[in-house]
Amino acid sequence: MNQPEIDNVPSAVRLSPLGWLRKNLFNTWYNSLLTIGCFWIFYQILRSFLSWAFTNAKWAVVQANFRLFLVGRYPISQSWRIWIIFVILAIMVGLSWGAIAHKLPSQLNLWLPWIWVIVFAIIFWLIGGGWGLTLVPTNLWNGLLLTIFTTIISIGLSFPLGVLLALGRQSTLPVVRWFSILYIEIIRGLPLIGILFMAQVMLPLVLPSEIRLDRVLRAIAGLVLFSAAYMAENVRGGLQAVPRGQVEAARSLGFNTLLILLFIVLPQALRAVIPAIVGQFIGLFKDTSLLSLFALVELTGISRSILAQPQFLGRYAEVYLFVGLIYWVFCYSMSLASRRLEKELDVGKT
């Protein structure tokens, strides 16, 4: 229990190891019992896991398929394209972090969204090919590559849509407001798997028969439709956090509604919701695993197809633990980054 300790010992005093044990593990009789019980359970789990990991587990399945996990069947001769994308992304993430957290020159801040749009286009070109590069069909974009690609593209595309929906929900025009509310609430009430089903099955039906979207594009469409509704709710939180006085002040200076929105409200609102958007990014990163249920071969999908190879039959635990570790490293580091960002932006406190 979170009992405030009212004692005269300053917290900075260093305790001896025994004193530390007494204070943190054995301060009351029920805490002692709890400690021993928890330690016993923890020890049992750890022991059986380690003995399995070093004796029964055959990690060859991970070693042999390492490349498949990361990029799947992407042609080996074209791997350099992936490396370039990796470098570009690293630079862009660094730049954005610097611009957001350390308040780099505002010029950069202004251009950053547009640079991102251009970078998206370049990445798309680098992965897919065409215009001088060898074409790589989407069914060869697999593994972690596809997971990251679909996540970034979906968040990027759902962002403008989400901002529009959030503004629509706040609009004073009843028709626009009701459209937005209806869309947001219906999408948020449905499971993602249902929306992906819709995107895979319904999209070809409602589009003219000349247009044939491939599986990856349909999946991205589903993710965007889904993500936009949640993005709208996040952005709405930011919009509500902008004090009314800001709008009134801008109006009294003679700004019109559009200018107020673009230069006064949105910059402040979006700044406030950056951590929430990172959180949504993490969620979407995990959610892309559902694409494996629609015959897409992203990280989860590729582990299922690796497990279908006869020589690796039954190696479920090894493969799923390894893939889980990849997901975990990405999500955990992003959530750490988001927490840092929250502190830097000082938006956590209200």
Binding site: M1, N2, Q3, P4, E5, I6, N24, L25, N27, N31, L34, T35, C38, F39, F42, T172, L173, P174, V175, V176, F179, I186, R188, G189, L190, P191, L192, I193, G194, F197, M198, V201, M202, P204, L205, V206, L207, P208, S209, I282, K286, D287, S289, L290, S292, L293, T300, R304, L307, Y316, A317, Y320, L321, V323, G324, Y327, W328, C331, Y332, S335
Partner: protein
Amino acid sequence: MSNNQQSNHPKLNLWRDVRFWRFAGQFLAVLIAAIVVAILWGNLNRNLQQLGIQPGFSFLNSQAAFDIGETPISYAPSDTYSRALLVGLVNSLRVMVVGIILTTIVGITAGIARLSDNWLVRKLALIYVEIFRNTPLLLQLLFWYFAVFLTLPKVENPISVLGVIRLSQNGLELPWIQFSPEFSTLLIGITLYTGAFIAEIVRGGIQSVSRGQWEAAASLGLKPGLAMRLVIFPQALRVIIPPLTSQYLNLAKNSSLAVAIGYPDIYLVASTTFNQTGRAVEVMLLIMTIYLTISLIISLVMNLFNKSVQLKER
């Protein structure tokens, strides 16, 4: 200047009038939406005609002809599609209700453990939360099913926990009830996954109660356990319930991942129905209606509960 004031001007230009623009804007929005819907609707009809499908729900009365692994209400392959869907719905509701109850227990326990003054308990709760929150639920389900449940011993010599719970390839067995491996997997998966999120919500809620409340409770002579139950937790509930509601909604929606491990919930039965009949529109509408209704019911119940714990201002 005063004779130029708009409010007194008898003949206001139309495009200067904000009311006109408000009307025009909405009219435009409706028009665009109507055109988009009309185009999509036209395409849909044309495509369905090409596929030779007559829209309508009459197919629900024809024979389903597929088997369902788990039937809490009586069902045979000779029954209709509507019966099969009903079985799926019951299966879904079963997992949602039990899941919500269990995940609340797990979440509150882990949330309080995160604030324990016992170092080991605190760290174990932290490890639990960080592992389960940061990996996809689908992967966890696959892991529980293929790497854990299917490698359990045969029914003849089950693993027995405290002599009450018996685990085997046939699933989870309590003295009075037995759960199939699919049901147990789904239940364990969504319970532990959602529980990790609830733990963080509970922790945040308890931390939001001011220190003075602890001190006041202590000065009244309440022991920490009682202070938590009678003073702190009821106040924390006000902060906890709104995000808790959305976790319950997530759990209900996430139960549709049952399809990955073959538990016949409503989504699995509906998608089997789609595979057999090719009726995309009808099946999609069914899925939408059912999940939206469930979401609505959870929201309504939780809102009522929320009202009852909010501060009563007189």
